[in-house]
Amino acid sequence: MEDAWDIACLLIQLWFSVVVGLIMLPAMCGASLGVTEIYIKVLVKTLEWATLRIQRGRRDRPTLQSQLSNGLIDKEDGSMEEEIEELRGSRPKPLAGGEFSLGDASYFCRKGIESIVEDEVTHRFTSEELASWNLLTRTNNNFHYISARVTIIWGLGVMIRYCVLAPLRITLASIGIGWLAIGTTLVGLLPRSREKDWLSDRVHLTCYRICARGLSATIRYHNKENRPKKGGICVANHTSPIDIVILANDGCYAMVGQVHGGLMGVMQKSMLMSCPHIWFERSEMKDRNAVANRLRAHVADKTKLPILIFPEGTCINNTSVMMFKKGSFEIGGNIHPVAIKYDPQFGDAFWNSGKYNMVSYLLRMMTSWAIVCNVWYLPPMTRQEGEDAVTFANRVKSAIAHQGGLVDLSWDGGLKREKVKEAYKEEQQRMYSSMIVG
């Protein structure tokens, strides 16, 4: 009995020293041992091989074709006016008052059917589909038995992900979060000084780096010279709560959010001690002026860290950027746009909050292959003379969409939960009326 206990202790000690030595220390210095890079390369090769086997197994189409963008139908590009003109064709217009024609209804009919077959909005709230299989069968609908080899590799993959990687990652994540709480509390005890700020930065960076290792995240930062500076506001597209870890790996930001209870609340309090973040009570959030004032005060103080805001307000599936809420763009100061694009090959980072809660989402993240993403820092933008907040928000949104290769949509992310507002429903009718009645 005692021998078993000794062996267990030894193993645990070994485990921890491996973790500390190979992962934590490099993380603190910001260095990397290159293990993750090799892992990713091996992964890519394996996935390509698996895909080719599946193609061959299918037997009808041998070459690796990539899927067209989720298109079922080829939509006409004309505006309502053009199309109705075409519809009427060369028919004489015999109607006295108003140019109404019986056949116009067929235009709306067709548009309606097109929407039923495919609409560009709702499929942004579900995960992106991949052209090739990445050996993850989460909710399995399409898996067919192809060959013994692929199944074996898949089985191996499951074992590796759940038995080797997941425990490692969970350990790291807990260490990261624990260290964040403890470290920031300790730093918070110091008096205000430059050293305190520097130390607080170090602690934050280390913890976020450990967390990133805990997700096997490989992040490539582009255009680091445009990194957000103090006294600015950083805006980014939102895909999941992991975005914060991704961005905070490379710089320190002041977070904005609601005060939570429980573990989150404890962390928020300790983070607040070491450097000024902005946490709002639930009641304060309703008062838009108060919110704006607090943000403005923070931005005006040039010694404070840049604020991190996600103007979409909700998680989108990383194929498009939806409407930016104008509140953040009314504050003033420099806006530093950042585009984040995840590579869906290795793991789907999108948090479908209707489907999964936070814990199951994190577990899914930790049992994916890896999180690979690109972060582009865009040059700062400011509101121009005479430009209103909405136009400015759209300008920033286009820049982010363009850089990240995402589709720029003007639909509101809030549609995930609510129905279309009445005002929008009337829009088509208004257009048609103005054509007929003038």
Partner: protein, 218 residues
Amino acid sequence: MGAAQSGPTEHEFQDIADRTGFSLEQIRNLNKRFKWLNNHQETLRREDFEKVLNLSRNPIRAQIIQAFFDKRNFGMNEVGLVEEIGFEEFLTVMSYFKPSNKKLTEDETEALRTKKLRFLFNMHDTDNDGTITLEEYRDLVEKLLSTCETLEQDTAKDIADAAMLEVARTTVVHMEPHEVYEGVTFEQFQQILKGLELETKMNVRFLQVNTTTMHCGK
């Protein structure tokens, strides 16, 4: 892995393909869409169409949705409405908007036009008495025009009335003074819309999606 599939199988897809003229690939895609709309149930109901956000902007959404549940459109010479439809009926209604991909003879083109015209007619003729009465016509015009204040209350009514009068003038060759105009019959409907190239305009161009995709459904 290999979960028991409810709903049509590949074999049935082939049957449906032969009947409606869609390709196998298109049917598979539409089946996925059908399942998404009705949350993987067996049948589709009216409420399921509310998931399509773009449709809520369409002025005649109610009529379009109604068309899916209208037995007249199922090609079996029945009348009445149903509460829920299966995948086959869904496809049958969709096939009204399918362009033909082969060269058609004069007769075939005419038949296609008539089919599409019938669909449109059924959509207008809500009580299925064989004519589009003034009420039904007015109803449609009101739906298409905006209800906001820039439009007078009676404008919609006036437009509808004027249009009906015009229809009566052009189609009914000979009307006795005491005759009351009943409404637009299908033949008159066909005549009015003679110049309309429905067979090309009332089409949804389904792409021939040529892929070897393995969807990782997550």
